[in-house]
C-alpha cells in the first residue's frame, strides 16, 4: 500500500465465505463417500463468516476501498455469495470445480491461496471456524501457503497505515497481536453485530460482478486437491446419542449443596 495524494490508502479486503448446511435443520453425511450431503438441508453462510463480512464492511467504511467475497463451493454457493453481496460487499470470486469435491482443510486452504493470487488484497478476513467441519485451521493454513502473518481469533481489529493490530480472544482475556499488511485475520462472534441486508442492497447485489474461477483458472494442481488426494479421511460417522434425561434435584434443604457438588463433579466450578 502506498499513500496517494495525502489521503489514507484505500484497502482491498477479501472475505472468505463458506456455505454450510443450516444448523437449524438436520444435517446428513453421504454414506457413499462420507462427505456432506448438500441436498439434505438448506445452504446458508457460515455464521462466523457473517461477522467477517461485517468487519470487512466496517474497515471499508473507515478506510475506504473494496470488499471482495471469495467462496469455494459448488453451484448452490451462489446463494450465499449473493447474500454476502446484499450485506454490502462490492464483488465476488466463486471458485467452483468438481475437482475440489471432498477436499480437506489443508487442500481447501491451498485452493483458496491459489484463488487469492488472482486478485489484489491487503487483508483477508474469515470466520475462525465453520459450523459444519469445525476444524478451525483454514485461516492458519492459508496464511502459511501465502507466506503471510496470521492474526487469529480476533475480537477487535484496528488498521493504522500498514500495520494491523488485533485483540486475540483468550480464555481469560485477550492478547494484543500486531503485524504488517498484508495479513490474514480470523474473527470470533464477539467482534461485532452483523447487519441485515437492506432492500436497496438486495436489489443492487444482482448487478455486482461475480467472477467464476475454476481450478485451472486459479492454477490449482489437480493432484493436490479432491477426495482422492486428501491428507485426512473421514473413515466412519455416527449420529450423536440422544440426550439423556436430566437429573432432578429436589430441594429438601440440601439442594444448593447437591447442585454445587454436581457442578464440581463436572469440573464447572
Amino acid at each position: 500500500m502506498g499513500v496517494q495524494g495525502g489521503r489514507p490508502p484505500a484497502m482491498n479486503i477479501v472475505v472468505l465465505v463458506k456455505q454450510v448446511p443450516d444448523t437449524a435443520t438436520e444435517r446428513k453425511l453421504n454414506p457413499a463417500d462420507n462427505t456432506l450431503d448438500r441436498a439434505s438441508s438448506d445452504g446458508v453462510i457460515n455464521e462466523l463468516d457473517e461477522y467477517a463480512i461485517e468487519e470487512a464492511l466496517l474497515l471499508k467504511e473507515k478506510h475506504g476501498g473494496e470488499v471482495t467475497i471469495l467462496s469455494a463451493g459448488p453451484d448452490q454457493a451462489t446463494d450465499s455469495i449473493r447474500k454476502a453481496l446484499s450485506m454490502g460487499a462490492d464483488k465476488a470470486i466463486h471458485l467452483n470445480d468438481e475437482a475440489l469435491h471432498g477436499s480437506d482443510s489443508l487442500q481447501t486452504a491451498y485452493a483458496l491461496a491459489q484463488a487469492l493470487r488472482t486478485t489484489e488484497f491487503d487483508v483477508v478476513v474469515l470466520g475462525s471456524e465453520s459450523t459444519d467441519a469445525r476444524t478451525g485451521v483454514v485461516g492458519a493454513a492459508l496464511a502459511e501457503y501465502l507466506g503471510l502473518p496470521q492474526l487469529t481469533l480476533a475480537n477487535k481489529v484496528d488498521i493504522d497505515g500498514g500495520t494491523i493490530r488485533i485483540q486475540r480472544q483468550t480464555d481469560d482475556g485477550y492478547d494484543v497481536v500486531e503485524a504488517q499488511l498484508p495479513a490474514v485475520v480470523s474473527v470470533v462472534e464477539k467482534i461485532n453485530e452483523p447487519r441485515y441486508p437492506s432492500f436497496k442492497l438486495i436489489m443492487a447485489a444482482k448487478k455486482k460482478p461475480v467472477t467464476k474461477l475454476d481450478a485451472a483458472g486459479a492454477e490449482i494442481d489437480p493432484a493436490k486437491v479432491g477426495l482422492a488426494n486428501a491428507t485426512t479421511e473421514t473413515v466412519d460417522f455416527a449420529a450423536a446419542p440422544p440426550r439423556a434425561a436430566g437429573t432432578v434435584v429436589k430441594d429438601e434443604g440440601t439442594g444448593g449443596v447437591q447442585i454445587a457438588d454436581f457442578l464440581a463433579s463436572k469440573k464447572f466450578v
Binding site: R82, K83, S86, R195, Y196, P197, S198, F199, K200, I202, M203, K206
Partner: protein, 384 residues
C-alpha cells in the same frame, strides 16, 4: 400466473424474518409488559432500511414498493404486532401522505429523516366523536396572516408521542363548500409546535409496546405552506391512503395469523398429555390445519390486492376483502392458538397470549370489518 415471490422479495422476507427472530423476539415481551416503546429496535429497523422500503432512493428510500413493505410487516407481525404497527403507521400514515401529496419542499425536508427511521411521522384523522365517519371531522384550521390556526382533538394516533416523533399530518375543516358540506384539508404540524400537545396516554388491551395518544390542538399556528396537497382535497387524499393502508393491515394480520401457526406447531411437538405429544391428537391437528388454511388464503388475498395496486389497476374491493378476511383470520387463529396452549395461553409469558390481545384491534383499525363489508357491497353495485 404465480404467487411465488421473486428472488429479491424472498431475500427481503428472509432478512426481516431473521431480524424479527434475532432482535425482536428475545426482548419484546418485556417492552410489552412495561408498556415501553422499543426505541432500540426501531433504530435497527431504520438501519436496515425498513422505513424507507416503498420510497425512491432520492429521498433516502430503498427504491422498493408497497408490496416489499407488506412482506416486512407480515414477517414482523409473525413475532410481534406492536413493532409491526409502528412500521406500518410510520410508513403508510406518517411518510406516505407527504410522499404522495406533499410539495417538493416538504418531501425534501421530511422524507429523508422518516425513511431512515430516525424520525417518525403520524397521521391524525380519527376524532373522539368520529372514527368510521371520517367526514364528520370537527378539527378546524383557519387561515390567518399566512398561518393555519389549528383547533381540535384527535384520537388513537399511532407514533404521535414518541421521543422521535417529528410531525403529525392532521385533517381539518378549512371552510365550507358551496353545497354546505365541510371542506377538509390536510395540514402538517411539526412536533413541538406551540399549541400542539400530546394528551392522555391510553391504556390499551393490546399493541402495548406501540405508541398511541390523544392529540390536542389549541390555537396551534403553522405556516400556510404546511398544507399537504390541495386545499379541500384532504378527504379524497386520505381515502387513497386508507385504501393502501388496508393492504398493509391485511399483511400485518396475516403475520399474526401465521405466528399463531408457528407457535402452535412448536408447542404441539413439545407438550405432552396422556403420554403423547398433543400434536398426535386430531383435536389439535384440525385446529392447526384450519389456522394454516386461514393464514394462507388471507395471504393470497393481500398479495392479489397489492399486485393490482402496483399494476395501477383498481384495487379498492380487493383491499377491503384482504383486510376483512385477514383480520378475521388473525382473530380466529389467536383464539385457536390460545386454546392449543391451554392454561399457558392465558399467561402473558407466552407469545400467543400477546397475539390474542393484539388481534382484536385488527378488526377495528384502518376501517372496521363493517366498513370493509360496506365497501365491498358498494363495489358490487349495491346501493350506497
Amino acid at each position: 400466473m404465480s404467487h411465488r415471490l421473486s428472488e429479491e422479495y424472498e431475500e427481503l422476507r428472509r432478512s426481516v424474518e431473521a431480524f424479527a427472530h434475532e432482535v425482536v423476539a428475545p426482548v419484546i415481551a418485556g417492552h410489552y409488559e412495561r408498556g415501553e416503546f422499543p426505541y432500540e429496535i426501531v433504530a435497527r429497523m431504520g438501519e436496515m432500511g425498513l422505513f424507507g422500503l416503498p420510497f425512491p432512493e432520492e429521498y433516502g428510500g430503498m427504491g422498493g414498493d408497497y408490496f416489499a413493505l407488506c412482506l416486512a410487516l407480515e414477517e414482523l407481525a409473525r413475532v410481534d404486532s406492536s413493532v409491526a404497527i409502528t412500521l406500518e403507521a410510520g410508513v403508510s400514515l406518517g411518510a406516505m401522505p407527504i410522499f404522495r401529496f406533499g410539495s417538493a419542499e416538504q418531501k425534501k425536508t421530511w422524507l429523508p429523516r422518516l425513511c431512515s427511521g430516525e424520525a417518525l411521522g403520524a397521521f391524525g384523522l380519527t376524532e373522539p366523536g368520529g372514527g368510521s365517519d371520517a367526514g364528520a371531522t370537527r378539527t378546524t384550521a383557519r387561515l390567518e396572516e399566512g398561518h393555519w390556526v389549528v383547533n381540535g382533538t384527535k384520537s388513537f394516533i399511532t407514533n404521535s408521542g414518541t421521543d422521535i416523533t417529528a410531525l403529525v399530518t392532521v385533517t381539518a375543516v378549512t371552510g365550507r363548500r358551496p353545497d354546505g358540506r365541510p371542506e377538509i384539508s390536510a395540514i402538517l404540524v411539526p412536533a413541538g409546535t406551540p399549541g400542539f400537545s400530546v394528551g392522555q396516554h391510553y391504556s390499551k388491551v393490546g399493541w402495548n409496546a406501540s405508541d398511541t395518544n390523544e392529540l390536542v390542538f389549541e390555537d396551534c399556528r403553522v405556516p400556510e405552506e404546511n398544507l399537504v396537497g390541495e386545499r379541500g382535497r384532504g378527504y379524497a387524499q386520505f381515502l387513497r391512503i386508507l385504501d393502501e393502508g388496508r393492504i398493509a393491515i391485511a399483511a400485518l394480520s396475516v403475520g399474526l395469523a401465521q405466528g399463531c401457526v408457528d407457535e402452535s406447531l412448536r408447542y404441539a411437538a413439545e407438550r405432552e398429555a396422556f403420554g403423547r405429544h398433543i400434536g398426535h391428537y386430531q383435536a389439535i391437528q384440525f385446529k392447526i390445519a384450519d389456522m394454516e388454511a386461514r393464514a394462507h388464503t388471507a395471504r393470497l388475498a393481500y398479495y392479489d390486492a397489492a399486485a393490482r395496486m402496483l399494476a395501477g389497476e383498481p384495487f379498492k374491493k380487493q383491499a377491503a376483502i384482504a383486510k376483512l378476511v385477514a383480520s378475521n383470520a388473525a382473530m380466529d387463529n389467536a383464539r385457536d392458538a390460545t386454546q392449543v396452549f391451554g392454561g399457558y395461553g392465558f399467561m402473558n409469558d407466552y407469545a400467543v397470549g400477546r397475539f390474542y390481545r393484539d388481534a382484536k384491534i385488527l378488526e377495528i383499525g384502518e376501517g372496521t370489518s363493517e366498513v370493509q363489508r360496506m365497501l365491498i357491497a358498494r363495489e358490487l353495485g349495491l346501493p350506497a
